[in-house]
């Protein structure tokens, strides 16, 4: 309780972080608590009349093949988060290791890593992912999707962590630690990592956010896991069935609102964490 109120007090000084966390919390709650109120089987086709507008029984209506769209949302949220959290973790893991090597060792290793990262960053990620997913469409599951997306989610973390390590390496406390005879590993664990935590947090949120963005984009092109009710798939079917111009707003609006809420939430968290990491920013915002 005490820590909760301390958090609340801090949150009032960092409204972005607090607001972002609350938004994400709402989304997560819909996904987790929602399961106890719906029958997840209703997310399958032909579980109701198709293209029904919202009623009490089907609060978000049904889609063209009779999926209950509220159930679809409840089932889809954990899937989207799973892809994001998993891909983000893999991306951040790789990024942290490479960022540390590049920033701490410098020299040749730094040159190579930086060159590869900067080059890959200019490559259109979604387009590369399209090639991969189109080729393995038949075996795509949520986990495979996460791994595929993760294959391009490590460049930004590498870049930010490298530059942070670089500046921290120069700071006095690292020099002091060196003088005291600590090994490189000890310096990294005891001196660098703790100071990097807010940056790692912000990077993680950023990686999760772009992973979800990429996966929803792929799904909306029809390249997602074929047997799962995902957000992107719902958008795909909504577009493919011209729900927009036929005025079936309940089909496309909920997934869009969900995605917008999710991204604004993640963006606010990452901006809030930036402020934690870099208090100087506070004045400028």
């Amino acid at each position: 309780m005490a820590s909760l109120s301390a958090f609340w007090r801090y949150g009032r000084r960092n409204p972005k972080l607090l607001g972002g966390l609350l938004l994400i919390l709402v989304i997560v709650l819909i996904g987790l608590v929602g399961r106890f109120f719906v029958n997840l089987d209703d997310a399958r086709p032909i579980s109701a009349m198709p293209e029904m507008s919202p009623t009490w029984e089907h609060p978000f209506g049904t889609d063209g093949v009779g999926r209950d769209l509220f159930t679809v949302m409840v089932a889809a949220i954990p899937l989207a988060l799973e892809v994001g959290l998993l891909a983000g973790a893999v991306g951040l893991g790789i990024g942290t290791i490479l960022g540390f090597i590049a920033g701490y060792k410098g020299g040749m290793a730094d040159n190579i890593i930086r060159g590869v990262v900067d080059t890959l960053l200019t490559v259109p990620g979604l387009v590369v992912l399209i090639t991969i997913t189109a080729s393995i469409k038949s075996v795509l599951s949520v986990e495979v999707m996460a791994l595929v997306v993760a294959s391009l989610a490590w460049m930004w973390p590498t870049r930010t962590i490298r530059s942070q390590v670089l500046t921290m390496r120069e700071r006095a406390y690292v020099k002091m630690a060196k003088l005291n005879g600590l090994s490189t590993m000890e310096i990294i664990w005891q001196e660098l990592l703790p100071n990097l935590l807010p940056y790692l947090g912000a990077s993680y949120v950023g990686a999760v956010s772009s992973a979800i963005l990429a996966s929803i984009g792929l799904e909306a092109l029809g390249l997602g896991p074929q047997n799962e009710p995902t957000i992107g798939m719902t958008i795909y079917w909504a577009i493919a069935n011209t729900s927009l111009i036929r005025g079936i707003w309940w089909w496309w609006l909920p997934p869009i609102l969900f995605v917008i809420m999710l991204f604004i939430g993640l963006f606010m968290i990452s901006a809030g964490l930036d402020e934690v990491a870099n208090p100087r920013l506070r004045r400028t915002v």
């Binding site: 900067d118 080059t119 960053l121 200019t122 490559v123 259109p124 990620g125 979604l126 387009v127 590369v128 399209i130 090639t131 991969i132 189109a134 080729s135 393995i136 469409k137 038949s138 075996v139 963005l213 929803i216 984009g217 909306a220 092109l221 029809g222 390249l223 958008i235 577009i239 927009l244 111009i245 005025g247 707003w249 496309w252 869009i256 995605v259 917008i260 991204f263 604004i264 993640l266 963006f267 901006a271 400028t284 915002v285």
Partner: protein, 335 residues
């Protein structure tokens, strides 16, 4: 820029292109189970139909070149040879249209749309961002910060969907699909040009709206940094006019990282615009790609992906070559 640096940069471009081509070669062969191309061709051949003859010929051609009877390196070399001649094969779904023809017809639409909307977003966003950070700006600009930040967090294509609904269904002021009116015959008249512009407004608007936030946020942060620099204070102490300080001292310096950001985010912009094209059934590369995905038309997918990588590679190359002209401190590498 010295010759060595130029050569290195060009070399990097070639490497990226080569890597993209090789990637397209390897991925289908790494796919679990059977090569998806062969699988798809087999499927088509089994289906039969009026295109039967052509498909059979295609299966033969594919197997002659890439079949298991050939050693891998030979397949690879002949593949690279084809790519170098921009020969991506024929479409499976639209047999016997050549993939390169599909791309050539779609490319001008995409380039036009993207060039126009990205330039607009970049210009408006950068200017707004600079004004938001400028202490002498009217308060109005401060109120823009929150909405622009929100916009920058929203993916392009979702804005597109909302725009379709608002301007295409509720208030029907702009056409919501196609590159020009169905039935219109492409010609060089003003009326047709206006028709094209009208059709591009909503897709462009969704790219611009989302982009403006991104560019404005970046510029604002950079401008705040620049304002702390000594030359800004000295410019004021020298009695320069506020206009001069804003444009030639403030923006001139703060805009430099924006170009680096532009080079780094072209891929993201293009990716987003693919979905925008799909939503507005705009006759560009994105729609071609979308149809190819639905029809498992692998040669088209690989061809389009390759061309996109090449185009973005070229654009970043261009930015990198121009950048040293803007920043005298940089002779070659982006920092």
């Amino acid at each position: 820029m010295n010759v060595g640096a130029l050569a290195r940069r060009l070399g990097l471009f070639v490497v990226v292109i080569w890597a993209a081509a090789s990637f397209n070669f390897i991925v289908p062969r790494l796919a679990p189970g059977r090569d998806p191309i062969q699988q798809r061709l087999g499927q088509m051949a089994a289906q039969g139909g009026y295109q039967q003859q052509g498909i059979d010929a295609m299966v033969k051609a594919y197997q002659a070149r890439f079949g298991l009877d050939q050693p891998l390196w030979k397949q690879y070399l002949s593949y690279l040879g084809d790519i170098a001649r921009l020969d991506f094969g024929t479409s499976i779904a639209l047999f016997p249209t050549k993939v390169s023809d599909l791309i050539i017809h779609a490319l001008p639409w995409t380039i036009g749309l993207l060039l126009m909307s990205t330039l607009l977003a970049f210009t408006i966003g950068t200017l707004l961002g600079a004004l938001m950070a400028w202490p002498r700006s009217p308060r109005l600009f401060q109120y823009l910060v929150a909405p622009l930040m929100t916009l920058s967090a929203v993916p392009y294509y979702l804005l597109g969907l909302i725009l379709v609904y608002v301007f295409g269904v509720i208030v029907k002021v702009f056409p919501i699909s196609g590159g020009y009116s169905t039935g219109a015959v492409p010609n060089l008249s003003m009326a047709f040009a206006w028709d094209i512009v009208k059709h591009s407004i909503l897709p462009a608007l969704s790219i611009v709206l989302a982009g403006v936030g991104f560019w404005a946020m970046g510029m604002r942060a950079m401008m705040v940094t620049v304002e702390g620099e000594g030359y800004m204070l000295l410019a004021d102490a020298h009695g320069l006019k506020p206009r001069t300080i804003f444009f030639q001292y403030g923006m001139r310096n703060a805009i430099l990282p924006q170009f680096t950001a532009l080079a780094l985010s072209l891929g993201y912009i293009v990716s987003g615009s693919i979905l925008v094209e799909v939503i507005f059934t705009y006759p560009g590369i994105g729609s071609v790609l979308y149809r190819a995905i639905s029809g498992a038309d692998f040669f088209v997918i690989y061809g389009v992906v390759f061309m996109i990588v090449v185009a973005i590679g070229l654009a970043t190359l261009l930015i990198d070559l121009v950048y040293p002209l803007l920043d005298p401190r940089i002779t070659y590498e982006r920092t």
